[in-house]
């Protein structure tokens, strides 16, 4: 076990996959500057700084993916994905289908998002749900260091386009990275803590919020199960439904805005497939439907807090 930042775990994943497969390349505004060691290891051909133009970076990745390379692109902050939506949604997501299966698009898009740096809504906007609502794409958003490494490796090996979102609040957090990490695959949720009374469902930074809430609840005699979605598309419906069928109560937590977020999808799945088991209303604790402010206390107020999760779970217990 090695103690390191999430950023370093991401680096390891890139390093290992680039070493394993010569068709993996890395492109982005500053990747060759910031990940100089990868240039040293794999050369300037495979680690490329780009012009400042997200659309063509993404388009280049899509074109390259269809013709033999496995590009990983770093588009920096999630709001910048707005400049690459055509390439990601209309090309990467649809051209396999529209061509009758002639092409596949093994590529990974990395982007940071979320509160923590007081940079405001043009750098901090959790748009992962957009891509869950776009066909042909997969969406991964890890909550812990092992998943950052393991799921990035899985995303690179996946033959489909994968959006890999990195929660800003976690980038420089440190933790122990497991040695002998098992091979992971995209699409599986994890039950982080087993419980009987209520299921707390979340992803990314709010995974930690839910684990803290579960501890607090435990001390109050409430047994909470904690489900970490890990992959937002395709969603692991089975794990979600099984947990809530067991506990009968669900609190869904994420930082992204509420309306049409991933939490809405989870709640809908529960309303459809766990209706009989639900002993209380489903509750969502989500970011408000407002842009993310820069001011520190406002940014904090945007993010779901442990207290709110604990309070919601207690209310559900009646």
């Amino acid at each position: 076990m090695a103690h390191m930042t999430v950023q370093e775990a991401i680096d390891q994943a890139l390093q290992e996959e680039m070493a394993r497969d010569p068709s993996v390349i890395l492109m982005g505004e500053g990747v060759a500057t910031k990940r100089r060691h990868l240039v040293d290891a794999f050369g300037e051909e495979r680690v490329r700084n780009t012009p400042l133009a997200e659309g063509i970076i993404a388009g280049t990745a899509v074109g390259a993916a269809a013709t033999g390379l496995r590009p990983v692109i770093d588009l920096l902050f999630a709001p910048f994905l707005t400049l690459a939506m055509d390439e990601l949604v209309n090309s990467a997501g649809k051209l396999r289908y529209l061509s009758g299966g002639q092409f596949s698009f093994p590529l990974v898009v990395i982007a940071m998002t979320g509160a923590g740096w007081c940079v405001g809504a043009q750098h901090n906007h959790n748009v992962e749900a957009w891509f869950a609502h776009a066909p042909g794409l997969k969406v991964v958003m890890p909550s812990c260091i092992d998943d950052f490494k393991g799921l990035l490796k899985a995303a690179i090996r996946d033959d489909n386009p994968v959006l890999f979102f990195v929660d800003i609040g976690l980038v420089y957090s440190t933790a122990d990275l497991s040695e002998d990490l098992p091979d992971m695959s995209v699409g599986q949720a994890a039950v982080r803590r087993s419980g009987e009374d209520v299921t707390l469902i979340s992803y990314a930074k709010t995974g930690g919020v839910c684990e803290q809430a579960a501890q607090s609840l435990a001390s109050q005699g409430i047994s909470a199960e904690v489900v970490d979605l890990r992959t937002l598309s395709p969603l692991d419906e089975k794990t979600i439904v099984a947990s809530v069928r067991k506990t009968g109560r669900a609190v869904i937590v994420h930082e992204a805005s509420r309306s049409c977020g991933v939490g809405a999808e989870v709640a809908a799945i529960l309303a459809e497939h766990a209706h009989g088991a639900l002993r209380a209303p489903v509750v969502r604790i989500a970011g408000p439907d407002v842009p993310a402010p820069a001011s520190y206390p406002l940014e904090q107020a945007f993010v779901p807090q442990v207290d709110a999760v604990v309070g919601a779970a207690r209310r559900l217990m009646g």
């Binding site: 068709s23 390349i25 051909e45 495979r46 490329r48 780009t50 012009p51 133009a53 659309g55 063509i56 993404a58 388009g59 280049t60 990745a61 899509v62 074109g63 390259a64 993916a65 269809a66 013709t67 033999g68 390379l69 590009p71 055509d86 390439e87 209309n90 090309s91 051209l95 396999r96 289908y97 529209l98 061509s99 009758g100 299966g101 002639q102 092409f103 596949s104 698009f105 093994p106 066909p135 042909g136 997969k138 033959d159 489909n160």
Partner: protein, 320 residues
Amino acid sequence: MGIRRYEGRPDELLQAMLLIRHYEERTAALQAESGVPGTCTAVGQEAAAVGVVSALDEHDLILTNHRSAGHLLARGADPGRMLAEVMGRRGGYCGGKSGSLHISAKELGVVLTSTIVGGELALATGVGLSQKMLRRQGVVVCFFGDGAACEGRFHESLNLAAVWQLPILYVCENNQWQAFVHRRETMVNDSIAAFAAPHGIDSAAVDGNDVMAVRAVATEALDAIRVSGRPFLLETRTYRLRGHFEPDDQSYVDPAELASWRQRDPLPRLQARMLESGQVTAAGLTDMDADARRQIDTAVAFAVDSPFPDADALLTDVYA
């Protein structure tokens, strides 16, 4: 049918142009008469397509757009499978899922067709990067319209191709129209080739209705790219003689402009030149025309016979 090779003889080029012309007019007629889905035809632009495609070798790759029939047919596509695709039939190049707007045919090196205007420009650099990094032969040819040159992606693509030295022949088919907007309404200057220089790219503009001229300049450009590994921008100046998307009564088109370009129709122009120089007889021309028409008859029969996809095709080909 595989990739079509050309020696560059006028009769070969004429034959390809006739096939395209009959294909396009037949799809338009089928739309009008039988409610077959509409298409973006490229009637009047056959020389631009055939001039460039006939200059390619079998390793070269093509990216195209909504107005792709000329490029595909010139490359050797089976008009039957094309029409089947237009009609949404299983026998189409994409199994009917594409329809006319994004027909790719990987077997012909026609990859990643996009009907998002400028879409192919964003993808071309990636294809060029694969060619370069995987040390493959073959230039990437990216066809796009004058309208696509208004999208910022055009510049982003040229710039990246220049910086990374990617083997891409950009071909702007400047047909003077962008759906229902005249090119003049969308740019101050008349030259699209002129956008190349500030990006550090060589360029040329050519009379796009003169197939031999197009072929000559395309050949030169391709040779240059094969040597230098650098991109090149070729502007073919031509005209969209039919409307944007069938049906289209062209009521918004200045009749004088249309008439003047009808005078420059690339087919009669090539035919006249061939007659003049004795490369063909009048009877020979009639035969060639009839032959192209027959091929389209066969194609229609194939397409009409091709079944629609099964319902479960709705859910396939989404993920690899």
